[in-house]
Each structure stands twice: as C-alpha cells, then as structure tokens.
C-alpha cells in the first residue's frame, strides 16, 4: 500500500518564557546571521530536550526532535506519550496550524483535523447555525453539511435544542454537538486529538463506536492522540510513543502501550517512599517496602502465596489507621484491593515511631502480567494519611507447575477462572 503521510525529520523549537521580552534582540541577531551573513540560524543550534520537570539552561527547547516515520493508507495510528511529550505539537504541524522548524511532511489526500470539538462555535448562534459554521471551519462545503445535517443532529442527540442559541446549552451538549459535526467529516486522513474524552458515558461509547467505523469500516487513515489506553487499544493498529519530543517506539499497539506505561508509571530506580502523592504533615515516613523490597519494581513468583507490606515511620499525632493496597492494570483499571480496615472496621492505633506490617494473601489464580500498585494509609471514608499512587510495579510470573497452564497472554484478564466441575 502507498504511504499516506511521510514525516521527514520533523523538529520544532520553542522559546521558553514570555514572548516579546528580549526577542527583539534575538530577532535582530537572527536576521543578521541568516539574511546578511547567510549563515545558519544561530538559535537552531541551541536548545535542549523537552523535559517538563527539569530546569534547563537554555531558553530554547525542542518540542519535537527528528521525528521520522511513514503512515500507510488505512493505518490507524495511536500516538501516546506523557503530557508535554510533543503529541499535540506533532498534530498541529500536520494540520498546518503551525510550521515545523526543520523537516518536511508530505501528505496524500485531504486532511481533517479534530484538535478540539466545537471550534468556532459562537454562543449567540443557534445549534443549527453553529453546525454550518463549525462544519465550514473544518473544511466542509455548505452542500456537504446540508446533506448530513439530519444525521449530525441525530447523532448529537440535541434535536430539541437545535434552534436555541448555543450559550443556553449545557457544556456536555455543546461538546456533543461539536463532536457530532466533526464525526461527519469525511477526509482521507483524519487527525484526532483527545476528543473522545467528552460527554457522558453513553456518548463516549457512541463516539468511540463512530471512530471505529471510521477507522475500520471506511478504511481511512487516522492519527489518534489519547491518554485513554483502552480507546487506543481498541482503535489503533499501530502505536507510536513520544518521549520528550523524540520517537521512543514505533510498532504494534499493545507493545507501544506497554512501553509507554512502563516509562510513565515507573519511578525510575526510585524507592516506593519517594512516590508519595499526598501526605499529612505530621506523618513522617522512613521506609515502605512492598514484596520484600523498597524499590519500585519487584517480581511475584508463581509459588508465592502472600506479599508483605511494611511501612515504617513516625507520627507526631496519634492516629488510628488502616491500610489499603490496590492492584491495577497498567492502563489504570483496578483489579483487586486489600482494604482490611474498611472490611472489618478494625483500625490500628499508631503513635510515635511505628512499624506497620501486613502479609496480604494473593488470589490463587492471579494472571501473569504487570500490575501497578497504589498504597494508602487512611481512616476509611474519613481521610487519607498518605496516598502513594502508582508507587510500585509488580511483575507476576508463574512457573508452569503450579497452575498447569498459566495464561500466557497478558490481555486475557487478571484472574484465570476455574469451573466447579471435577476433571
């Protein structure tokens, strides 16, 4: 098949800080170097990788650096990465909202972009008028919109309000209408950014269904950015992971999600205790070990029946606590939780230096795979003393002798079920 889009070493540089301050001198020196001296732009040489959380020395960063890949016609590509990894910048360049600093994108076919739903909605105009407006902004002709008007209104589910100004709409209705228009765009290449996260559950389902039709049934090329791994998984045939503006992985969707979740969730070589999300001031935690280690990654073997949790610390205020441990899949779905205090109502009193130890019994048939762990010390339903979100990852590994046939596939579920029938 022919390629629909070719990204050829696309880079994008941004200047940090405020625009308009000190840029006049930079503009002048740039002009002097490129136009008068005919040299390379001096500001293109500097610039650091785009890591949001680290303080850098340069005022310039590379939001994207040397991105090169091809997209074949009919591919549904999921682009995933942390916030600020460059996903949206890439889509913005592709949709011509901004230009690359270097490199070239070659495309074949009309591109329709959905960077935001309801772009150009005017609050004073009615739903119907806004459908025309929004459709035209997205590149449809009046004729195309007219022929799909009924379908769009029907899809949005806002029929009753269609002749009411949009400012009277609830925010959910506005996005529904916006998505309905966008979903009826019919370009050869569709670029979608995070728009599925709109509306209520019913509408989200409808939206994903519509995207599936677009992707599968109609054989169009789709580039899809999302943090919703379930949506990426169900829609995409190929995954691309961006990290700090660079292409970190390009391959099958499942593998891409794996790469992303590992990069994103693991606190690299850190300790569990460093991954605490929020904490009471009077509580001082020295050590948290899970599964016998303070490190954020550990392995549970097939013959292991329990997993030990040990929390050591000091509290200046005496409190009654219980501990909750949640096992989640890497895409964030909670699978099982240990919540003794909530179930039994028994709390442990701690004051001064304390050591809290529990041996948590694992289910017999937990499936092989990776799980992300949340640890929380709380007074159930009252308050959290500390909450460590995604603070550790455990790899569950089975040896063949314990269960007969362990689940080899990671996406068959968390538990393997057995029937009551005796063999």
């Amino acid at each position: 098949m022919a390629s629909a889009i070719e990204f050829d070493s696309i880079s994008k540089q941004y200047r940090l800080g405020q625009v308009g301050r000190g840029t006049l001198s930079a503009d002048l020196s740039r002009w002097w170097a490129t136009t008068v001296l005919r040299k390379e732009d001096p500001y293109l040489k500097i610039g650091e990788t785009n890591d949001r959380s680290i303080r850098g020395n340069s005022d310039y960063v590379w939001a994207l650096r040397d991105i090169t890949f091809d997209v074949q016609q009919g591919d549904v590509v999921g682009i995933i990465g942390k916030n600020g990894a460059g996903k949206s910048t890439l889509l913005k360049i592709l949709s011509k909202v901004t230009t690359p600093t270097t490199g070239e994108i070659r495309t074949r076919g009309r591109i329709g972009t959905l960077l935001e739903v309801g772009t150009g909605f005017h609050p004073e105009m009615t739903g119907r008028e806004n459908i025309y407006m929004n459709g035209a902004i997205l590149g449809m002709t009046k004729h195309e919109i007219r022929s799909k008007l009924d379908e769009i209104i029907d899809f949005s589910g806002c029929e009753r309000y269609i002749d009411t100004p949009v400012k009277r709409y609830s925010s959910g209705m506005t996005v529904r209408l916006g998505f309905a228009v966008a979903a009826h765009l019919e370009p050869e290449i569709l670029v979608v950014d995070e728009v599925l996260a709109v509306g209520d559950a019913e509408f989200q389902k409808k939206a994903i269904g519509k995207m599936q039709d677009v992707a599968r049934g109609q054989g169009r090329t789709v580039l899809f950015v999302s943090h919703n791994m379930a949506a990426v998984k169900s829609l995409c045939t190929r995954g691309i992971v961006l990290q700090n503006g660079c292409l970190a992985f390009d391959g099958l969707t499942d593998e891409a999600i794996e790469v992303y979740t590992h990069k994103c969730c693991s606190v690299d070589a850190g300790r569990i205790v460093d991954g605490i999300y929020r904490k009471m001031k009077y509580l001082d935690l020295h050590r948290i070990s899970f599964n016998g280690t303070e490190a954020t990654e550990s392995t549970i073997n097939g013959n292991q029946k329990t997993v030990e949790l040990k929390i050591e610390g000091t509290t200046s205020v005496p409190v009654d606590v219980a501990v909750k441990v949640i096992f989640k899949t890497l895409s964030g779905t909670p699978i099982m939780s240990y919540a003794e205090g909530r179930c039994t109502g028994v709390l442990e009193h701690i004051e001064g230096d304390f050591t809290y130890v529990r041996n948590i019994v694992l289910p017999q048939y937990i499936a092989q795979g990776d799980y992300s762990i949340d640890i929380c010390m709380h007074k159930p339903s009252v308050l959290d003393y500390f909450y460590a979100k995604d603070c550790a990852i455990v790899h569950v590994q089975h040896s063949d002798d314990i269960q007969g046939l362990p689940l080899k596939l990671k996406n068959e579920g968390a538990f393997s079920l057995v029937s009551t029938q005796e063999k």
């Binding site: 909202v97 070239e104 004073e124």
Partner: protein
C-alpha cells in the same frame, strides 16, 4: 509515485506562494463568517439593525453642532446633514474595516490554534460584512437626500460621477483590508503597533475631508506646497471627494489622476499585505 503528494508541509515557502484556489474553496466559510458577524452583532437588542442608522445619525448631529455650528466650517453649499452623512458613511466603513481586520490574529488566536483554514478568509469576511452596514447607511443617505430633493434646496446636483460608487467602495475596502492585514501581521509579536494604530485611525479622520470640504484647504500652503495636494496624498481623500462630488456636486472633481493614484496605492498595498500576511500566518501561533 513521489510526485503525487497533495501537500508538502515544510518550514519555509516562497514569498508569493499564496494559495488563492484554496481561498476560493473555502468561500462557504467566508459567507458563514459574514452571516455570523451580521447576526450576532445586535443579538438581544431591541433596535437591532436600526443601530446601524442610529449611530451615524447621532454622529452627524454632533458634527452639525460642533463643526457646522460652533466652528462654522462651510460645506460647499450642500445641506449640512447630507454633507456630513456622506463623509461619515464612507469613513465609518473604512474605520470599521480597519479596526476589525487589524486584530485578526490576536482576536482569532483561539480558533486559528485549533484548526486550519486559509487565514485570509477572516479579514476578507470582515470587510464584506461591514459592506452590509455600509449598504444600510447608504440607504439612510439616500432617504435624507430624497427629503432635501423634495424641499428643493441644499441637495446639490447628482452627476455622472456618482456611477463611480462601486469602484470607490472597492478601492476603499481594498485599502482598509491592505492596511488591516499589514497591521495584524505586524502585531502578532509586538503589540505596540496596535495601540498606536487605534489612535491613529481617530486622527486620520481629520486628515481626510470628512468634516470639511477639500476646497476649504485649497490655496493654503504647507511647506511651500498646496495643502490640498498634500492631503490628496492620503489615498482615502480622493475617494471621499469623488463620492461627495458625484452625489452632491460638492466642490470640484479631484481628477482621474488622483483616483488612479488611490487605486494604484490600494493594489500595491494589498499585494504587500497579502505577502506579509501569508508569511506570518504560517507560524504566528508560536508568537501571538
């Protein structure tokens, strides 16, 4: 296979690479923008489009008191309301177009940042939607004219030059668009110009024969030159004067030379504007 690409997105493009075909393809969007501007401007008002008439009427009354009454500036033998209204209609059109196009980028940044369409559509639609307003105000002018015609005095004499009206409006629109898009392109990064500009537009009116006839300044000299000649260098002056002469017979016709000067000025300005605008639109999102 290699040459079949529909589109190549690259950092730089030629100066004159303006995609007019694409603008044409988005003409529906332009009509919708125009419709939006008109529909939404006076939504939830009682008078609605009547405001288009109230504004110039009050302005004209004001001018009659200040310039006609207090300052006693003559109006070339034409009734004051007609004389001022003629100037106010055209000037207001020019000023409105200028103000609305000169902040194209800043005002639409939210929309421009999310979706691509030829950016030039927005300023063009501003100029077109203001045309509706001009039309209504011109209607008012004709009504006032009819009133004076029946009274029998002060309405001057319509002559063949009135047929120039469409040309005059087009040149005026072109000038406003040209200036507007240049200003909007220059203000994406440094906003200073915009602040300066709103104030210049106010002053510009006094450099244009709106509240006084050009004949009043003829013969007065500034730096050894006829002041009327200097004022005609302002490309709006010949248009206003030609309009007043055509419909009211006021003053003398400025001459074809000056009209051609305005036309030429507009063409050069517009071409320059489109080139600059086209260059800025590609990456303004990073600086706006």
């Amino acid at each position: 296979m290699q040459n079949e690409w529909n589109e190549i997105i690259s950092p730089r493009r030629g100066l004159l690479d303006v995609n007019f075909r694409e603008i044409w393809r988005y003409r529906d969007l332009m009509t919708l923008f125009v419709k939006r501007d008109i529909i939404t401007q006076y939504k939830q008002t009682i008078l609605g489009p009547l405001w288009y008439i109230v504004q110039p009427s009050i302005t004209v009354l004001m001018y009659m008191v200040v310039f006609g009454g207090i300052a006693g500036i003559p109006t070339d033998g034409v009734a004051q309301p007609l004389f001022y209204l003629a100037g106010v209609c055209l000037w207001q059109y020019f000023a409105d177009c200028l103000n609305s196009t000169s902040n194209t980028f800043v005002k639409n940044a939210g929309m421009f940042g999310k979706v691509y369409f030829p950016r030039l559509i927005t300023p063009i639609s501003c100029v077109v939607s203001n045309l509706v307003r001009l039309g209504i105000q011109f209607g008012l002018f004709l009504i006032v004219y009819a009133v004076y015609y029946f009274i029998g005095t002060g309405c001057g004499t319509v002559n063949a030059y009135a047929l120039l009206l469409p040309v005059l409006v087009v040149v005026l629109a072109g000038l406003a668009l040209g200036f507007g898009i240049i200003i909007s392109s220059l203000t994406t990064k440094y906003r200073d110009l915009q602040i300066l500009f709103t104030f210049i537009v106010q002053l510009w009116m006094y450099a244009t024969p709106i509240v006084y006839p050009l004949s009043q300044v003829r013969g007065k000299s500034l730096m050894g030159m006829d002041l009327a000649t200097i004022m005609s260098l302002n490309p709006v002056t010949p248009i206003i004067e030609a309009f007043k002469h055509g419909f009211l017979g006021a003053g003398e016709f400025v001459g074809w030379g000056w009209l051609c000067y305005s036309l030429g000025f507009m063409i050069v300005l517009l071409a320059l504007g489109i080139v600059i605008f086209n260059r800025v639109q590609r990456s303004f999102m990073d600086t706006v």
